[in-house]
């Protein structure tokens, strides 16, 4: 069963490789500075390295798909996203795989009655506008600066050719590495807790743990995607929107990387704020959209006559189609899988105002007097519960989140069987001892387990202001939860 579920993840990886490699090598291949074969080989190697070496350390190990609570559901969501990206790749349009995944999850939310993440949807729409505009501004600026620099430096045509080629290769492999590191979680992250793989040691030189073996498989899927189907989208980016010179090709990838780094890097923001410096605002920037913007920026600075607006219109249409089609495919497929194949595509999440939950809500400063008649009542979906609360009182989104997480019924019982299966280097010995101390206990709400663990060990205790530590705890908890679910 694991192998069947994994195929959809690998299909998603393949689609990602076929589409997103264009973000890093598209302009280089489009301007014939690097042959497609060379670009595909380099991209493949560095995507795999990024996935295996840095994939495990990525902030969102489980990726967007982590929101889906049943493995069969995750299978369909990944399949819907992959199918959408595949379709648009066949047509040759650069689209965002993440947006396809978020769209497919919205389809799952609609089907399962879970709350739709409107923040994600809003950020998708914003990224359609913000990414190209920011990237276009940066690329136009860089193009002017670099063109001026080249004119003043009087570099020999062949030396310039070597410099640009080297620049494109370095930018390409760095981009491929981060493509692997950042996206592998979406490809196979969801399967990590149910992986049957054991650690493999290579002559004692290095060891691949179960997660890394999955990441390797996902990385290979991405690499194969680039190799077998990546050329078309690369040519759209590198030659379809406007004719580009090699200098322009380099400027486009440079602007893309800089925009992603400045406006999407939480690390950079934390560093700047930590040193008392003004930070760039974090905005939803997507690499697929930014690279198109970079190319447009150069086209515009050269007068705009060479831009094929019709192609741009088609690309914009493909961007809008990505989440919409993913929602539709996901919803219909889930319906078929659930009703025809009798598979459990989601675990129904109920909401109940228990005494413990009430205590937690009051502690958070939310008055309970208007909700008294909801005490002890069970609501079968988040949507229903939210509706019931909204009829009685008005809460801001933050308060609503507190209420929802406090009342969410997620019964867990820690068993030896589950604890024995912990095979994640991130879980420390101290954390494991804390878990062992809770074996045999059952919890109604998820937060109860979290509180109990925090009481047992400081390594399970969130620290105010320590984002790194808190993110690690959140990931570790997610892992433990999935492990418990897979053994229940």
């Amino acid at each position: 069963m694991f192998a069947i579920f994994l195929t959809s993840g690998l299909f998603l990886g393949w689609s990602l490789g076929a589409n997103d490699a264009a973000n890093v090598f598209g302009t280089a291949v489009g301007t014939r500075m690097i042959s497609f074969k060379k670009a595909a080989i380099l991209s493949g190697i560095f995507v795999i390295l990024g996935a295996v070496i840095s994939g495990a350390g990525a902030a969102k190990t489980l990726g967007e798909l982590g929101a889906v609570n049943a493995i069969a559901g995750a299978f369909v969501v990944a399949l819907a996203a992959a199918g959408t990206v595949y379709w648009l790749t066949v047509l040759g349009y650069p689209v965002s795989t993440t947006q396809a995944i978020v769209g497919a999850i919205v389809g799952w939310d609609l089907f399962s009655g879970a709350l739709i993440d409107y923040v994600s949807l809003q950020s998708i729409i914003l990224s359609w506008i913000i990414s190209p505009i920011l990237a276009a501004i940066f690329s136009a600026l860089f193009y002017k600066l670099i063109a001026h620099g080249i004119k003043s430096a009087q570099i020999h045509m062949f030396r310039l050719d070597t410099l640009i080629r080297t620049g494109l290769i370095i930018a390409g492999i760095a981009g491929a590495y981060s493509l692997g590191a950042n996206n592998i979680s979406n490809v196979v992250g969801i399967f990590v807790p149910i992986s049957p793989f054991a650690d493999i040691s290579f002559m004692g030189w290095f060891k691949l743990n179960a997660a890394q073996q999955l990441f390797l498989l996902g990385g290979i899927a991405i690499a194969v995607g680039t190799f077998t189907y990546g050329k078309r989208v690369m040519l759209t980016v590198g030659a379809g929107i406007t004719e580009m010179s090699p200098v322009a090709a380099f400027v486009a990838v440079l602007a893309n990387a800089v925009v992603l780094f400045l406006f999407a890097s939480e690390g950079l923001r934390a560093f700047l704020l930590g040193h008392g410096l003004p930070a760039f605002p974090l905005v939803p920037v997507s690499s697929s959209q930014a690279i198109v913007g970079s190319v447009i920026g150069i086209g515009l600075i050269k007068g705009g006559r060479g831009i094929r607006w019709r192609m741009l219109g088609e690309i914009a249409g493909a961007w809008v189609a990505t989440p919409v089609v993913a929602i539709l495919i996901s919803f219909v497929s889930l319906f078929i899988l659930q009703n025809v194949f009798q598979q459990k595509t989601y675990i129904p999440v109920e909401y109940k105002l228990t005494a413990e939950a009430e205590q937690r809500i009051v502690t958070a400063g939310i008055p309970m007097d208007l909700l008294e008649d909801l005490r002890g009542k069970t609501h079968s979906t988040a949507v229903q519960f939210r509706k019931a609360v909204s009829q009685r009182m008005t809460l801001n989104p933050k308060q609503m989140n507190v209420l929802l997480s406090a009342t969410e019924i997620d019964p867990v019982a820690l068993t030896f069987q589950a604890v024995n299966r912990i095979n994640n280097p991130s879980i420390t010995a101290d954390q494991k001892i804390a878990i062992l101390g809770l074996v045999g206990k059952a919890f109604t709400h998820r937060w109860q387990l979290e509180t109990a663990l925090a009481e047992k060990s400081p390594e399970w205790r969130p620290v105010a202001g320590d984002k790194e530590q808190n993110d690690k705890i959140a990931l570790d908890l997610d892992y433990i939860y999935r492990l418990i679910r897979s053994t229940q």
Partner: protein
């Protein structure tokens, strides 16, 4: 063996410089050859012919090697076609110089003493036009902004060459004592020399377009 190793080590930039040197040298050698021919110093003329033939061979070898490098290493993809055409055009100019001296050797035209200065001036203008073209080429590779500074000189020398050709032809056909066949033979040589400057100007026109295409 040693030569081939050295050749392999020579970078494409150096090869192009060397190739352009051959064209420049071919111009000077053709001048020497014609001077020797007009002075009836046939030994010096034969030497000039040998030198210019060697230069032509070397130029051909270099051009082939550069073109192979351009394709094998897929260098300058956006300008490869233009650079190839440019090199072939420049090679054609080299061939013109060699062809001219060969024709002197084969046809042995009887150039009257009164036309000597005009023939020398005519060839000098063509050599200068090609020289300016060589400088334009070097600038195209190294400092594209200064190409225009050299191209206008090509045009200047081509016009000068036209003036001398017209004057020379008038003088030739104004001579009553010469046979028509003789006059036509001399006209043919005057035209051969003039054509070198004409071709240099045609190449410069194409180079102008390549420059626009590469302008950032």
């Amino acid at each position: 063996m040693t030569e081939s190793i050295l050749k392999k080590k020579m970078g494409i930039e150096k090869e192009i410089d060397d190739f352009l040197n051959q064209i420049s040298e071919a111009g000077l050698m053709s001048k020497n050859g014609m001077d020797a021919y007009l002075k009836k110093n046939m030994e010096a003329f034969a030497q000039a012919l040998t030198s210019i033939r060697n230069t032509e061979h070397r130029g051909d070898d270099l051009r082939r090697s550069i073109e192979q490098d351009l394709y094998k290493k897929t260098l300058i993809p956006e300008s490869r076609g233009d650079v190839m055409t440019l090199l072939e055009d420049m090679d054609a100019l080299l061939d013109r110089f060699t062809g001219l001296i060969w024709q002197f050797e084969i046809e042995r035209p009887d150039i009257c003493a009164e036309f000597h200065d005009d023939f020398k001036e005519l060839l000098l203008n063509s050599v200068e036009a090609v020289e300016a073209m060589v400088r334009s080429c070097r600038a195209f590779f190294k400092d594209i902004n200064s190409v225009a500074d050299h191209i206008h000189k090509v045009v200047f020398y081509e016009k000068e060459s036209d003036k001398v050709t017209t004057r020379l032809q008038r003088a030739i056909f104004g001579r009553e004592d010469l046979r028509l066949s003789h006059k036509m033979h001399l006209r043919f040589f005057a035209k051969q020399v003039d054509r070198i400057a004409d071709e240099a100007e045609d190449v410069s026109d194409r180079l102008n377009i390549y420059v626009i295409k590469r302008t950032l």
